[in-house]
Subunit: 214 residues, 2 copies
């Protein structure tokens, strides 16, 4: 019975997955919308709506089966598959991502880093091979990569996206502070760190204004 | 006549700010909702609604004054102020944030790193001082910090948030993969990297399903 899944629900899917995984570890087999809502800081009715939109799980009064729901979410998020990643840009952000061991365990292994600066190749202490950006067209096809991670300066990001598209990559995890244009059959998810910091700043000042009005 | 600013609009504020800054650099003084929409991949009517909700700028047929609008957004986001940050956790993520020179230029300087592991202090090559976590209560009050950056394992994050609250910190930039509970007079913005990766995975599989149905 799954219907249209809104952007807001999609954004919450990873949190559902995280909480259900924790519950499973704790040996919980069934959970009510009330208890799940308490954990996730959502109302029970929001929980029921969300889960109905992507699953149609659970019966009134019986709660949700933790393991089945977790596996269902894992499947609709495609986490039962492996997504090999290549990182473009071997600066601090690119190296931090390439060295983050957690992603591989979740099915997102980084298989290589590319950078246009030969000096960065020489200095690299990364756990994955680092290649010159000029070798991208030659090396990428053999790598069986599904996700391109953009850790480049903003002004280089669009050109790199276009190159990756031509090489058959259809998914971009973008850390460059730029809004990229992409073809219809490509997906981009942005991690704009400065944006989240500015949103934090906005919320600080809203809170301060509110307190000062009391 | 600024009204209620929705979460969706708040999330777009940094993008408005970024685009207006670029336009200003290019010498553009006025911009229509149509042209701004084309840049931001939003409809002209969405642009008008957004700007109306936080500004009440512009007159029909005249477009928006770039500099004034940029300055207005800068002010409501509190970016005219300085926000000193302290990073908790000197692992890869914590060190990458502390070494990211861009944040200081935007008014968010990192003034110190704290870690519970004495070995990390010794190994540190960070540009900012690294202290033992046990010295937090003693050192933080003199640092004039407004934002605590959590770059800790998930299981240590809540306890650290509580400690920072007791020390007067009211804003948290959270990189730990945990949903934290915070008092009403505190704000938390999450950067859950794994979540964004899972959302990307979800979108890949939605796209593939759609293509396979054609």
């Amino acid at each position: 019975m799954s219907g249209y899944v809104s952007d807001a629900v999609v954004r919450r899917l990873p949190a559902y997955y995280r909480h259900l995984r924790e519950l499973e570890t704790q040996g919980v087999t069934q959970i009510s919308s009330q208890d799940l809502g308490d954990r996730m800081q959502l109302t029970p009715s929001q929980i029921r709506q969300d889960i109905n939109s992507f699953g149609g799980f659970g019966r009134q009064g019986f709660g949700y089966p933790v393991k089945e729901l977790r596996e269902h979410i894992r499947k609709i998020m495609g986490l039962d598959q492996n997504h090999r990643m290549v990182v473009l840009g071997a600066g601090r952000v690119g190296r931090a991502i390439a060295s983050h061991t957690g992603f591989a365990g979740e099915g997102f292994p980084v298989v290589a880093l590319f950078d246009r600066d030969p000096e960065r190749l020489a200095q690299s202490t990364a756990a994955v091979p680092v290649y010159l950006e000029g070798e991208l067209e030659e090396r990428l096809p053999a790598m069986d990569v599904r996700i391109g991670v953009l850790a480049l300066p903003a002004e280089e990001a669009q050109e790199m996206l276009d190159r990756l598209y031509d090489l058959g990559i259809r998914a971009i995890w973008n850390f460059a502070p730029a809004d990229l244009h992409c073809p219809r059959d490509m997906v981009v998810v942005n991690v704009h760190l400065s944006d989240t910091l500015q949103i934090l700043s906005y919320r600080i000042h809203q809170m301060e204004e509110e307190l000062s009005r009391r």
